[in-house]
């Protein structure tokens, strides 16, 4: 096979997610009362970027054939934390941002340590740590409130040169400094290998434990970046259980739409980002078509159900029935 064919096979999920997003966004902006303007793009970008960060976080863990059901709670916790710390003078704000990101790293590292070195199942372990993170968030913000450095917030949620949404650029920067180095590093490849076949990776002497640990830790960091941006958009911190859970759920939907295999070892964060943007756009389609907002949860649920069922088409290619049981 030629090189480009390998590339196509590898990136098929990402390209598909990109295609879905373009089509959905075209429908969305064509039917939006204001049309395709910088304002519409900026609003859509700001909403989409939040989910994109959380979806990136989920991708890192899913690649290792794990799952992180606490990403939404890390997102909520860091939101509450940022509403206390990211205030005041320039220097204070910088320290606040660093503290928030550090918290995310610690949360992710705790998850990683429990799952990898404690050898617990990721599902149960991250549901439990999620409860702890939510408890901490509630401790910080029993009632919604707080504030944020508004100059920084407005800068990062505004537009560059009047057209390019700053949040999209921030997303691009994060992809370049977190995802690209990770996926090209030895430990990043180890994370992929561990997700693909842990036994084979172990036998080949791949550092699977360190790779998986790094993936969980960076997932915490990315969720924290999402939490930081949530604070920039809302100017407040809120320990909302339902919203944290919804972000966890949507992150899984975005990952699936983005072509990342839930069995691990396949897919990329870029795909998950487009999956997240597509998922958000689909959810917002209801508004431009003047549906009752009450229908939105049902609509998003049905999309999620359809998205996860699409994987079942692979069953038609199965020749031997025993391959049903992995």
């Amino acid at each position: 096979m030629k090189d480009w064919r390998y590339w196509l096979a590898e990136e098929r999920g990402t390209l598909l997610a990109f295609g879905i997003f373009i089509v959905m966004f075209a429908i969305y902006s064509a039917n939006h009362p204001a049309g395709f303007t910088a304002n519409v793009v900026q609003t859509a970008a700001n909403k989409g970027v939040l989910l994109a960060f959380v979806a990136m976080a989920q991708t890192l863990v899913v690649i290792t054939a794990g799952i992180d059901l606490s990403v939404g709670m890390i997102f909520t916790l860091t939101n509450c934390m940022a509403s206390w710390l990211v205030v005041g003078t320039g220097l204070e704000t910088v320290f606040g941002v660093l503290a928030v990101l550090g918290t995310g790293l610690i949360c992710g590292a705790v998850n990683g340590a429990i799952v990898i070195y404690g050898r617990l199942q990721p599902i149960v372990a991250t549901i439990a740590t999620g409860a702890v993170f939510f408890g901490l968030a509630l401790l910080l913000r029993p009632v919604p409130g707080g504030s944020v450095n508004e100059d920084l917030a407005d800068f990062l949620t505004g537009r560059f040169f009047g057209v390019v949404p700053a949040s999209l650029l921030a997303l691009l920067v994060i992809v370049l400094i977190v995802w690209v180095p990770f996926s090209r590093s030895e430990l990043g490849r180890a994370a992929y290998a561990a997700g693909s076949s842990e036994t084979a990776a172990y036998m080949s002497g791949v550092p699977i434990r360190r790779g998986k640990f790094l993936a969980y830790t960076l997932a915490g960091l990315l969720a924290a970046i999402g939490g930081l941006f949530l604070t920039f958009f809302t100017y407040t911190g809120e320990a909302a259980y339902a919203s944290g859970n919804a972000y966890t759920l949507f992150s899984i939907a975005a990952v699936v739409l983005g072509g990342v295999s839930l069995f691990g070892g396949k897919g990329s964060a870029i795909g998950a980002i487009f999956g997240a943007l597509a998922f958000r756009t689909i959810g917002d389609l209801l508004f431009v078509f003047d549906f009752d907002p009450l229908w939105q949860p049902l609509f998003q649920g049905v999309i999620l159900l359809i998205a996860v069922s699409l994987g079942a088409f692979a069953l038609f290619r199965v020749r031997n029935r025993l391959e049903w049981f992995l």
Partner: protein, 332 residues
């Protein structure tokens, strides 16, 4: 490492104990030991902790979780998980209350209708897992979202105004046998039925078989897909029945009333020694897990711990206990 030392200590102690204890699962013994420790700690804090009224009250509260955890256990024994519990519970409660608004026929059919809604959610889960081979964690999250969406559309986003029927209230709060709450009797009946199904029927053997290795179960002639489907339907039905009881207890249904039951039901099953990978576990362990979780919650609320502290302690305790005896074998 802690497994082996713990097992060694347990084995040493168990050698000098009656046969029925020696044969028991160390995880179940640990869970019961933790219950006794919790009771002792509680009695240090407040005298009334060991009074029969208080313990019976705890058992009544535990029975709601017990009913839900029974279904969860069946699914976990298969090596799957059911994350659609929150809105199966809420849907069961809301639909039962909704049916009650449609005259005498509705009142009579309220409970079966609520349970049937849960079974329907469970069947969708079952089809997804058994026939479409979607990972259970994912498909149950998706059906949970769909059930939530349906309920939000139905209720308009508020808590529904319909109230529970007299029968639902009687089941949850009444007394048929003096001194023993009905909810406890229901849990005992459901538990007995589950023990019978798991240990005395071919269905139960098939569940353990699939949990150990689905391929092997399939090759030995078990219709594994049908069994998985039935297990999910039962789990959905029991979650909804738990919701019906909860609605009877509070005399009405509420939005997100099921959220507080997802983690506890999984934790109860896993703390009771059932392997999260499937194929291993006993109902006695689940009973111990349910009582353990309920006591823990109760002690935290008696100590007037705020919600934040409760969540933290709760998560820490579950992780700590799992690290004690729920670890997977080291990869070699």
């Amino acid at each position: 490492m802690s497994e082996t030392t713990l097992g060694g200590i347990m084995g040493g102690i168990a050698g000098r104990m009656p046969k029925f204890i020696r044969r028991a699962d160390p995880a179940v013994l640990t869970a019961f030991a933790c219950i006794i420790i919790l009771l002792l700690l509680g009695s240090l804090y407040s005298r009334s902790f060991l009074s029969p009224e208080y313990l019976l009250q705890q058992l009544k509260v535990a029975s709601f979780l017990g009913v839900i955890a029974t279904g969860m256990m069946l699914v976990i024994l298969l090596g799957q998980i059911d994350l659609s519990v929150p809105w199966s519970v809420a849907a069961g409660a809301m639909m039962a209350c909704a049916a009650a608004a449609y005259g005498p026929v509705g009142v009579a059919l309220a409970i079966p209708f609520g349970v049937l809604c849960g079974v329907a959610i469970g069947i969708v889960n079952g089809i997804g897992v058994a026939y479409l081979r979607i990972p259970s964690m994912i498909i149950t999250l998706a059906t949970n979202a769909v059930a939530q969406g349906l309920m939000v559309v139905y209720t308009g986003g508020f808590s529904p105004q319909d109230s529970a029927t007299a029968a639902m209230r009687y089941l949850a709060t009444g007394f048929t046998i003096p001194g023993v709450p009905n909810a406890v009797i229901i849990w005992a009946l459901i538990g007995a039925a589950m023990v019978f199904a798991l240990t005395r029927t071919s269905f139960g053997r098939a569940v353990y078989g699939i949990g150990n290795r689905e391929r092997a179960a399939y090759l030995s002639g078990i219709d594994t897909r049908r069994i998985v489907m039935i297990a999910f339907a039962v789990s959905g039905g029991l979650s909804a029945f738990g919701g019906v009881l909860l609605a009877g207890y509070a005399s009405k249904a509420a939005q997100s009333m099921g959220d507080a039951y997802l983690l506890p039901s999984i934790a109860a099953v896993v703390l009771g020694g059932t392997s999260i990978l499937g194929g291993r576990g006993s109902y006695l362990g689940t009973v111990a897990g349910v009582i353990l979780i309920t006591l823990l919650q109760s002690i935290l609320s008696v100590m007037q711990m705020p919600e934040a502290g409760r969540q933290i302690i709760y998560g820490v305790v579950i992780v700590a206990m799992l690290l004690l005896y729920g670890r997977a074998p080291a990869s070699r």
